[in-house]
């Protein structure tokens, strides 16, 4: 009886659906092409998965608080362009340029947050506007050309952010540790801290939260800042790994990140969020992208699968939610 209730509790967790989907996905790709689980493929998948994953972690908290940020893809492209423009033109050192890029991103987040909370414009419209502004600035200051980043060379910052080493046959990038670190930290914040309780209450019932003395507006503004800062951090990591800061990079990432978060079980309208679910959601989409190419499906068909997964997961969530409310 006790065991049964344990299993029931596990099954009713929002992370259960995404976990099953990820396991099934891996099993299918592996059975079609055993190279899918080769050390080389695992290493490659992990290296580019975590960059989008970092943004998804911050987006989880923001969406739990009932808002979302469409400008993350633009910030992902803009921050490294700013950083490398400052460095390549000899204005500052790489460290200072890095800090400036993060700080400017935080200010972009601050602007998003103030527009949403003070002027009461929906985050959809505010961040859509910011998406265009930031992308426009990135293209303008770079004349549309990528900035070179190979001068990072042996710089310690490059090592700390994207340095790689081998563990047996696996090539591991430092960015993986950043992702694991932030997943643990933000998971802790969301589930174990007072701040986490405030974030959930802000998204669940802002009126009730406000009445209890929760500073709803400040909570949202800080999360917008976190989201933008994390997007810029991920953008810088990506620029060093790919040896180029392209002002167009990150286009369309905002929707993919939101899809990752929602597939993981975080409620689109706020109030409920899960970092574990987001980590699963990140891998579901990235494994799908890697797997369909590996088994020979044309890469252009990728979006068909992603769309189908989102529809399937939302249907599953809706069914489980209704069953839960009916008390079955």
């Amino acid at each position: 009886m006790e065991n049964r209730s344990l299993i029931q509790r596990f099954v009713s967790k929002p992370e259960f659906g995404p976990l099953v989907l990820l396991v099934a996905e891996i099993a299918v790709f592996w059975s079609i092409n055993p190279d899918f689980l080769s050390p080389l493929n695992i290493s490659n998948t992990l290296s580019f998965t975590v960059e989008l994953g970092l943004i998804a972690l911050a987006m989880t908290l923001l969406m739990t608080a009932g808002e979302f940020d469409l400008s993350v893809g633009s910030v992902f492209g803009f921050a490294p362009v700013l950083m490398w423009t400052l460095f390549n033109s000899g204005i500052t050192s790489l460290e200072v340029a890095f800090v400036i890029a993060l700080a400017v991103a935080a200010l972009i987040g601050l602007a998003n947050g103030l527009f949403v909370t003070r002027i009461k414009i929906s985050s959809f419209l505010v961040t859509l506007g910011m998406l265009l502004v930031v992308r426009g600035v990135a293209l303008f200051i770079s004349d549309g050309f990528p900035q070179r980043t190979w001068s990072a060379g042996q710089h310690w910052l490059a090592h700390v952010l994207v340095g790689d080493f081998y563990v047996g046959p696996f090539r591991i990038y430092m960015s993986l540790f950043w992702f694991i670190g932030f997943a643990l930290l933000l998971g802790y914040v969301l589930t174990q801290t007072k701040a986490g309780n405030w974030i959930q209450a802000t998204g669940g019932n802002p009126g009730a939260a406000r009445a209890r003395g929760v500073n709803v507006n400040r909570t949202k503004v800080l999360l917008f800042m976190l989201s933008a800062t994390m997007a810029s951090f991920a953008g810088v990591i990506s620029s060093i790994r790919t040896s180029a800061a392209n002002p167009n990079s990150g286009a369309g990432y905002e929707l993919e990140v939101i899809a990752m978060v929602v597939i993981g079980g975080t409620a689109l309208m706020g109030g409920r969020g899960t970092i574990i679910g987001t980590v699963l959601g990140v891998f579901i989409l990235r494994v799908m992208r890697n797997g369909i190419v590996l088994i020979g499906v044309p890469g252009l068909a990728y979006n068909i699968f992603i769309g189908a997964i989102i529809l399937g997961m939302m249907t599953l969530h809706s069914i489980l939610e209704r069953r839960h409310q009916a008390g079955t």
């Binding site: 801290t193 007072k194 309780n197 959930q200 009126g207 009730a208 209890r212 003395g213 109030g271 839960h324």
Partner: protein, 260 residues
């Protein structure tokens, strides 16, 4: 009994509409007051002023004889006044324990870790649910969204009791509840008084008010028209007459009652 809350000459205008006209209203220590009135009588506005949801246009509010300024719900809570609206005071996605402590969560360990003291929260929640009179064994980790309407009211009342709110305002707490659930809520209110709290009880159903209050105040047209009705010495019909301001014949006509 001494006065816990005293409102003097309170008026509230929404543009040209005068919702409250020179209202005097008192709640004593350890007393349950039933606030009655027809739609538009001004009772909602009175409660909004007292709970800080809207500011009054003029007049004074005293808590235990001391003049206070209530401009927000946070001000009201700081002055020991807690308002419980049906559903709106709770976050349905959060657990009972997390709702109880929302905004005043106990933390443990080093300060910078900001870590919730789940064990303490659960222990207090369990004890409070028992004190408020919930007989079912509901784990404190249960999301409020899966509780019944009556149980949600109980959680809100329990929270007000724990944080030593002197005055608990219950706005239509028995709306949309079944018979058993309503009796449960009335029991929670009585238990709140037993532990030394005062309540203002607003309900459209006069019979519910009669079962639980010590004194009835009636409002009509933005004014208090009766403020010392003893439910033990007055009939429901008499109170209905005061609420509507009609004579016996007018009331019977309006209700379609035929005595013959």
């Amino acid at each position: 009994m001494t006065d816990l809350i005293r409102m003097e000459h309170v008026s509230k205008a929404y543009g040209k509409i005068q919702a409250l006209k020179d209202v005097d209203f008192t709640v004593r220590e350890n007393e349950i007051v039933g606030l009655l009135g027809d739609n538009g009588a001004g009772k909602s506005t009175l409660i909004k002023v007292l709970s800080g949801a809207v500011p009054s246009t003029s007049g004074d509010i005293y808590v235990r004889g001391k003049k206070v300024s209530i401009r927000s719900t946070t001000d009201a809570i700081a002055n020991g006044i807690e308002t419980i609206y049906q559903d709106s005071a709770l976050v349905t996605q959060l657990s009972i324990a997390r709702n109880l402590f929302l905004g005043r969560e106990p933390v443990k360990g080093p300060r910078f870790l900001n870590r919730l003291d789940h064990a303490a929260m659960d222990a207090v929640a369990r004890d409070l649910l028992k004190r408020v009179g919930i007989s079912k064994n509901i784990p404190p980790s249960t999301p409020v969204g899966s509780l019944s309407g009556g149980e949600r009211q109980a959680v809100a009342i329990a929270r007000a009791m724990y944080f030593e709110s002197d005055l608990i305002i219950l706005d239509e707490p028995t709306n949309n509840l079944g018979v058993a659930e309503t009796q449960g809520v009335l029991r929670f209110v009585r238990n709140a008084r037993k532990s030394g709290h005062s309540c203002i009880f607003i309900a459209h159903n006069i019979h519910h008010v009669f079962q639980v209050v010590d004194r009835i105040v009636v409002m009509r047209g933005g004014r208090v028209v009766a403020d010392d009705i003893n439910p033990k010495e007055t009939s429901v019909e008499d109170v209905e007459r005061i609420i509507t301001g009609m004579t016996d014949e007018e009331l019977e006509q309006a209700l379609g009652v035929n005595n013959h």
